[in-house]
Symmetry: C2
Subunit: 119 residues, 2 copies
């Protein structure tokens, strides 16, 4: 059993939109990711998804509104709700979600990360 230092973990990688697994419990992954730019519209059919902004500002575009998340703010996006994350500048986020969750949800394309790295 080892403690996890979030800031140290963020310093171990640079790429965007490629979540890293930092922990697992109860069939859920604790992931961190660096985001910059616009992601794609997608939804997760079977998983609710939580974004927690550790650093920076993240926009979550929904079909009928845009939610702005600043540091220490989070949102839970229920399964089936289409969303598009947009990071004008680099953002650090933490994600809590089932181990089955695919980053691009209902889409499988060049942005899809099938083999997330444990760090």
């Amino acid at each position: 059993m080892k403690k996890i230092n979030i800031n140290e973990k963020f310093l171990q990688f640079d790429e965007y939109w490629n979540p890293k697994i930092v922990g697992e419990l109860n069939h859920q992954h604790v992931k961190i990711a660096k985001l910059k730019g616009e992601f794609i519209w997608h939804q997760h059919i079977n998983e609710d998804e939580m974004f927690w902004v550790i650093k920076g500002q993240l926009l979550i575009e929904l079909r009928n509104e845009i939610i702005t998340l600043n540091e220490n703010e989070m949102i839970i996006i229920p399964r089936g709700v289409e969303h598009k994350p947009v990071a004008k500048e680099e953002v650090w986020v933490m994600l809590f979600e089932p181990t089955t969750t695919l980053n691009t949800g209902n889409h499988n394309n060049h942005l899809t990360q099938n083999n997330l790295e444990n760090i």
Copy 2:
């Protein structure tokens, strides 16, 4: 769908060792708690438990070691592992665990919180 501001949530209560529910996803609760003093030795038979220190310093006593968690550090305690949280000064933590989790684990006593408040 509403965003959750962690710091605002922490300002809504004062009591120690009484986790508040701030979100729910995939049958897991996102909880926050203020801790001060020594809790009891306990274990969770069916749930892994995650402590994430938002503010202050938390000691997690295990039977064979003591783990010190500072701000932005977390630990995942596997089910069945006895532990005792100790906060010499006030600590703010976030917990991520199944909705079935009881704060005192395998003990049911005056410290047990059966009806957690949603804030």
